[in-house]
């Protein structure tokens, strides 16, 4: 079986963001980088599928500069067999259609039985790439899964809907799934696996070789939203703040009458 998992390296959301000089993206100074949280669940599920099927080869793909190899190593340490690094120093400037195009171009002749992606990225968060890749490869796709089971060529998954409701779906492989938080518990890589990961094959492909589509949109500007006025900010000692808040609640709401 041939499995692909697509991951993205994103900044840690605790970082203090600044707008870059260009005004069209965030500045990458003083940022800590990590694997997109949704992709961690995708990698874990892909590894579990490989462990279940046993005779399977699992590739992890990531687009970006050399820096993303760090994150790819984590995926390899979690259990992926090989890495496909699409070398692109400007990946942050690309929009979902281009990203999907790159992935689809890479995957099109490789007969993947299952492709895993995260449901969305923590930075851009458009949630389109996975579904677009499926469309480009003409694969059936289930998005936002919180449960995954594979049985003889069929995937049984649960989609997470609003209000805690889930939808049961079945799809035949080859197929693509996008993973939601809580799908599983991503494993912590063991040291022998971290060491093996260093030796696993890592293929580097120039992005120019696989980018065959044009962008359909672009970011005109990135900025911090204005603070909506009217929000009162209270600071001070816990006890005083409590008194102040109670006074406000009595005044502005009917809650403490």
């Amino acid at each position: 079986m041939n499995i692909l998992v697509c991951i993205k390296q994103v900044p840690d959301m605790e970082s203090k963001f600044k707008v870059a000089a260009s005004g069209t993206w965030y500045d990458n100074q003083d940022l800590a980088w990590r694997m997109n949280e949704y992709d961690e669940y995708a990698v874990e599920q892909a590894v579990r599928l490989k462990e279940q099927v046993k005779d399977a080869e699992l590739t992890v793909l990531c687009i970006g500069s050399d820096k993303v190899k760090e994150t790819m190593k984590k995926a390899l340490a979690m259990g992926c067999d090989r890495g496909a690094h699409i070398d692109d120093g400007e990946s942050w400037a690309k929009e979902p259609f281009e990203i999907a195009g790159i992935i689809a171009e890479y995957a099109k002749d490789k007969n993947f039985d299952v492709i895993f992606t995260g449901m969305q990225s923590q930075d851009r968060g458009s949630g389109q790439v996975g579904v677009l890749v499926a469309e480009m490869l003409d694969l059936p796709c289930v998005s936002t899964i919180v449960d995954f089971a594979f049985d003889g060529g069929a995937i049984k998954a649960k989609r997470e809907l609003e209000g805690g409701v889930k939808a049961n779906v079945t799809v035949q492989t080859p197929a693509l799934v996008t993973c939601q938080l809580g799908l599983n518990t991503p494993r912590y890589p063991t040291l022998p696996n971290i060491m093996k990961a260093k030796k696993k094959p890592m293929e580097s492909i120039a992005v120019a070789d696989v980018l065959k589509v044009d962008a359909r949109m672009e970011t005109a500007a990135m900025y911090f939203p204005e603070k909506k006025g009217g929000g009162l900010v209270l600071e001070g000692e816990a006890g005083d703040l409590a008194d102040k808040l109670i006074a406000i609640l009595k005044d502005k709401t009917s809650v403490l009458k």
């Binding site: 959301m13 965030y26 579904v131 796709c141 809907l161 049961n168 809580g182 939203p225 816990a238 502005k252």
Partner: protein
């Protein structure tokens, strides 16, 4: 400008999100047509043209078929834009439709600024404006971002034929764990976010909720960590609430959470970070360590 609005139907009910789609169209000054896979028995209050496919025939969830039917309607109506709600149905279907239309797709629009779409970035800390290069565009709209329009009237219904099977087989819904608390009925909700630090601190949140005569809820990370049961989750994948008072403790304000409580009458956020996105919807932001503030507030409220 003409916008094709995609309404949603689930479990035999028409979802109310379509009125926000109408609000968006009004904002854009556009004429509209609507599409839904639903039934005659649950038609939207909408005076325009409604393309209706029978949910019983093709299934409430069937991305391949729904996509094909929408593309057929698009071919007929030639809209400039197709608008979905940014919901589990919308964000799944929109990219497929956009691909079929060779159109750009903008996800989770929160605002339209000078004609450009504005979307959130990095957990809602930033915004970006997007310009599209294709003639037609597909958008998904963030829940609660556009004022719903109280439309009336009955639509002019045109039936859409269902053709084929679809590769994704829908086997039915699974309800959320039953017998839980119904946060939508609570007048006061005190919610716990990751900032509470550990499971043991849920107690103090529950205590404050009790003192205020309400219920306690939580953001997604707290539920994922199993500190609080799922039916207390507030947010797009949990419950949507609109209490008189919503107290968000240690919640940064990720979009998915905001969407679930934005309609609260009065919002107080307790957070050590003055710049947390929750401050945008908060009427009062208490900049304090919740571990100090919450017990202090509880004590004083109990003493009232």
């Amino acid at each position: 400008m003409k916008i094709l609005l995609i309404a949603e139907y689930r479990d035999g009910q028409l979802l109310s999100g379509y009125s926000e789609l109408l609000g968006f169209a009004e904002n854009m000054g556009a004429e509209t047509a609507m599409f839904v896979v639903g039934s005659d028995a649950a038609l939207p209050a909408y005076g325009g043209k409604l393309y209706l496919a029978d949910a019983a025939a093709c299934g409430e969830f069937n991305p391949d078929l729904h996509k094909q039917m929408i593309l057929d309607v698009v071919a007929k109506e030639q809209p400039d834009m197709v608008a979905f709600s940014h919901s589990s149905y919308g964000w799944d279907l929109a990219p497929r439709v956009a691909y079929g239309m060779k159109a750009a797709q903008v996800s989770e629009v929160v605002e339209v600024k000078d004609g450009a779409m504005v979307v959130p970035v990095c957990n809602s800390k930033l915004r970006r404006t997007v310009t599209c290069k294709t003639a037609q565009t597909v958008v998904t709209l963030q829940a609660g971002a556009f004022t719903p329009v109280e439309a009336d009237g009955s639509p002019a219904v045109e039936k859409v034929a269902v053709d084929g099977q679809g590769r994704v087989v829908f086997e039915g819904y699974e309800e959320a764990e039953a017998g839980g608390v119904d946060l939508s009925k609570a007048e006061v909700i005190v919610s716990a976010g990751r900032g509470i630090g550990k499971a043991d601190n849920v107690e103090m949140i529950a205590a404050l909720a009790k003192a205020l005569g309400g219920e306690y809820g939580a953001s997604r990370p707290v539920v994922d960590s199993e500190w609080v049961e799922h039916n207390r989750q507030v947010g797009t994948t949990g419950q949507t609430v609109a209490p008189k008072l919503y107290l968000a403790c240690g919640i940064s304000g990720a979009i998915q959470h905001l969407a679930g409580m934005k309609k609260s009458e009065f919002v107080v956020a307790v957070n050590t970070d003055k710049d947390a996105p929750i401050s945008e919807v908060a009427d009062v932001l208490v900049v304090a360590d919740l571990l100090q503030f919450v017990p202090a507030l509880t004590e004083k409220v109990e003493a009232l």
